[in-house]
Symmetry: C2
């Protein structure tokens, strides 16, 4: 990530910078020289849905590599990015454990590290496509990215804490707090998921210290599950017999138990929490609206992922979804990471064409034509469509 060292910026200056897309990540330097993460914005090529709190989407055509560069990685924040001094920061582990513990960043860095490529996707990715529209950030398809996360295994921390047999959930609490009476952002992870060796407490992203927007200094990485489980600015892990009762567990990030007709009002008692991401693909190149010369080869490319499952195949249509051709899955792969795919195409018919991509996972589950509308606008998973214009060469 491009780092700009800044003096004390006013809130307005931050906002302006974010809207200009010029701020980069900003570190405020305090008197003692410790670095403090402050409200900051990644580089200006992201789509700003909200500057404060920061909700930034990656334009899909900028997703060109298996690893998403930090400065292009989408940002989802519920509240303002907290200003955290890494030398003051602590992680408290408490609740239904034998040995409550408070850890410094240095404590964590001395533990055995683990690095895992994990694709994160906001549960609301694609919300802007739902019809009827649904309240919330109107994400297009770019609230997704793939990074190498380095940190410690959550299981290692829990093991030393001595989880009691009655425990069933972990409550993850970040340092961000809402304005006024807004509830704290706490998410709840089932213990069995947390104890798998691949759930991390990460302090690095693609080999760099976590940026403020991405959870500096510590972020949970709950691989294969929707992004909100990967709580940023983590300060407390509470082990509990119960699921958390707060609104970010009991109301948000939930879908109807059975699919409902678009526009249906659904009682919270009839909902279940979202966990694993669905099988899904996006076309990242060509960009929507691209002009392509007839008769000249072009490469259609994109990404496919399926939460905890493997991608088995991606099929692509260049004729509005009539005929399908298998795309080539690239070699870079990891259990919780997306697959990049490509298809060579020589356009032979002039005019407007809709490219469509459709992924299938190892269980044979494939993307639908019609997504399951839900009141939260979560888990948009329909086949992806990109319209291009074939022009005389």
């Amino acid at each position: 990530m491009r780092i700009r060292r800044a003096g004390l910026l006013t809130r307005r200056a931050f906002l302006d910078a974010a809207l200009r897309g010029a701020a980069g990540a900003a570190f405020l330097v305090d008197g003692g020289g410790a670095r403090v993460a402050a409200q900051a914005s990644p580089a200006g090529r992201l789509i700003v849905h909200s500057a404060r709190p920061q909700d930034l989407e990656t334009p899909a055509h900028l997703l060109t590599s298996w690893i998403t560069p930090n400065e292009l990685f989408y940002v989802r924040s519920h509240f303002y990015t907290p200003a955290i001094r890494d030398d003051m920061w602590r992680l408290h582990v408490d609740g239904a454990i034998d040995n409550p513990v408070t850890l410094t960043l240095e404590n964590l860095r001395r533990m055995s590290p683990s690095t895992l490529p994990v694709t994160l996707e906001c549960a609301g990715n694609g919300r802007g496509y739902f019809n009827p529209p649904v309240a919330g950030v109107q994400w297009g398809k770019g609230a997704v990215g793939n990074a190498r996360w380095t940190g410690v295994r959550l299981a290692d921390v829990l093991r030393s804490a001595g989880v009691q047999p009655s425990a069933r959930f972990l409550w993850l609490d970040g340092a961000d707090t809402g304005p006024g009476q807004a509830p704290d952002f706490i998410r709840s992870v089932p213990l069995d998921k947390a104890l798998r060796g691949d759930t991390l407490l990460a302090y690095e992203m693609n080999g760099e210290r976590l940026a403020p927007a991405h959870g500096f200094p510590l972020r949970a990485i709950v691989p294969g599950w929707e992004g909100a489980y990967s709580v940023k600015w983590l300060t407390r892990i509470t082990v509990s017999e119960r699921d958390h009762a707060g609104p970010f567990v009991s109301t948000a990030y939930r879908i109807p138990r059975s699919p409902v007709a678009p526009g249906t009002v659904v009682d919270a008692a009839q909902t279940i929490p979202i966990q694993g991401l669905l099988v899904k693909s996006i076309i990242s190149s060509p960009a929507a609206g691209a002009a392509l010369p007839r008769g000249r080869a072009t490469t259609i490319s994109g990404f496919a992922w399926s939460g905890e499952q493997d991608i088995a195949r991606v099929d692509v249509s260049v004729d509005n979804g009539r005929a399908w051709m298998p795309a080539t899955l690239d070699g870079e792969r990891a259990r919780y990471a997306w697959r990049q795919w490509t298809l060579r195409w020589v356009p032979d018919e002039l005019g407007s064409h809709v490219l469509v991509s459709r992924a299938t996972n190892a269980q044979g589950r494939t993307q639908p034509i019609e997504p399951s509308w839900n009141p939260g606008g979560y888990l948009w998973d329909a086949v992806d469509r990109v319209r291009v214009d074939v022009q005389p060469a």
Copy 2:
């Protein structure tokens, strides 16, 4: 068709009756006892897009048989239904022919008859689904039907008229005329299509005299091509070296030469006339919004057609377009008629599901996911979708 003998109805009474759906077809009885077709409405189960001129759509769930009953057959009219006395009516055949001729209905009835099942579909069927919206009658998917048409072969009439070698088009003119300065409704058929033995001049529909709404006393049937070629209330056939220059040939019923992006303004010079209907299917049962009991077998059924081509297969998805099952094509078939298809389904998951149908013709052409938007809103051909709700049995 249910016939109601009526006295002289006022225009308002007709309109009210049509809107009530109670008029049926009305024949006014004149002093001499000859039957005169007047502004009339088929039975009241059709969707009234316009009562005068008559534009009536068949609710798709009422399409349950291979042959569409006359009283359920969609009606498309550009102008007011003309009041025609069958004993006064004449068909004039003129233009680039050796023997101009004027024929009575009796002349035609004495010629060798031909009966052909032909599916007619309005070129604008599905227009209401286009996004962005397009001006014109906002048809759903029910401006289509299949009937047995009885009449004479147009080729027989043309043979006796002696078509000159220079001739290339037939101009078909109906008795309907527009209000004020509105142009005459004239359509132009290429001579080679007209000379095929299966292009008819029909005076019966499903064994009954043509109803006024369907073109009494004579209608062209141009099989496999969009419905506007099948000109109603036919009074004149002019053979010509040139295509007709009127707006119903040079402006309407045309699509862009190459597909365009939705919302594009297209110059008339960049358009081509619509001819054959595209491969297409609709689900007619269950009806949209139907409640289906879980665990109980139901039959999904519908129709598929492809203009001049045969239907090879219909595939149906019961899970929003993920997995597909082949439907059974019923036995009743004819070259220009749709195929009825069925699929038995035992719903096993509660909730809202989208059924999707996708037809493929004998040439391997299949329906798209995204239709080709065009400024006229013609030829909507996307896979059909019906949302149903599976409920506890």
